[in-house]
Amino acid sequence: MSQFEYIMVLISLILGLGLTQLLFGVANLLTRWSNVKVYLPHAICIVVVFGLHVQEWWVNYIYSYAIETWHFSVFFSLLVYPIFLFIMARLLFPLSLDAKIIDLKQFYLANYRSFYFFGLLLVLTSIPKNILLLDMAISDQANHALLASIILIPVVIRTDKNWFHYGLSIMMFLTGLLYVLIFNPRL
């Protein structure tokens, strides 16, 4: 078993468990469908986090040839991204679905700052990872810096305005979609 294969076992496991959180969460909402009040930005966030899980798993293959000797610090720097994704996936669903009406708008508005805080950590951890592990230029990270500054807004500002949350979630969805359409990275 090569070092990369061993490393990917745990990383894939955590990503897989994050996906399980999302699928369980959606399935649980479906079983209580008649009691659920859906909120579009929340639904889009679920789709985006799902996409981020798959994208991270796909992109990780690059480390099979980018890294020769695996040190604990390198492994740890790769592990934090799936961990943040797992926590984001968990933050997207209510702890209990026992309430008569499950109002996802109310739930989203109560928790979106924690959710985006971990989203911000995702972007911030990926910048040094790209520079140090993949030898990318600092100037190539301008799009990440821009994304981080946009995600910082919902972390800092508390707002219940619908247009803000619709705009933010649609922007994130389109960013993910454009990434796949433009780059369409090969394995």
Binding site: M1, Y6, R90, L91, L95
Partner: protein, 187 residues
């Protein structure tokens, strides 16, 4: 598939599920943070157990070189450590966060003897593992003996001296961070 690859599937799975317990617990605390009273030694122990899980998984790769022929006894010997870590991870969080305030200080003092009792088995298992399989000397294992004795003292005495719990949890984190920063082992 080589024997080590086959064995590491189950050990990685148990470690992965232990990590999931911790991440789920942390995410649930974040979701309910408005009604949670945090307690620093509890938070640090969560981090410590997380560190133990990652370190154990990392260290397990050494057995791909150390063990040529795998017997069932070897497997049982090695799988007990992840099992103990899973139980510890499970004990770190209240079973339910429903209801009113959750005071993690009182939760910690109610449960630390159980957690530490389970943790006593970590050095009991890992010291013979390191000596028999990895070929280390007993002198190398003395810090673990000290760690086990402190755990045993706290379990038996049931001390609720907060300075002890602050110091013990902080020392654990400092040792884990020093391991990562200064030792940074290669796989």
């Amino acid at each position: 598939m080589e024997p080590f690859e086959y064995v590491s599937v189950l050990t990685s799975l148990i470690l992965g599920l232990g990590i999931t317990q911790l991440l789920t617990g942390v995410a649930d605390l974040i979701l309910s943070h408005k009604k949670i009273k945090f307690f620093i030694p509890h938070s640090l122990w969560v981090l410590n157990v997380f560190g133990f899980q990652i370190q154990e998984w990392w260290y397990n790769y050494e057995y791909s070189r150390r063990i040529g022929i795998w017997h069932m006894s070897d497997f049982f010997f090695l799988v007990t450590y992840p099992i103990i870590l899973f139980v510890m991870a499970r004990l770190m969080f209240p079973v339910t966060l429903a209801g009113g305030w959750v005071d993690l200080k009182s939760f910690y003092f109610k449960n630390f003897r159980k957690i530490f009792f389970v943790a006593v088995f970590l050095p009991i298992i890992s010291i013979p593992q390191n000596i028999i399989i990895s070929g280390r000397s007993f002198i190398d294992e003395l810090p673990k003996v000290g760690f086990g004795l402190i755990l045993l003292y706290a379990t038996i005495s049931g001390t609720e001296n907060k300075y002890f719990h602050y110091a013990f949890s902080i020392i654990g984190i400092v040792i884990a961070l020093s391991y990562l920063l200064f030792y940074d082992p290669a796989l």
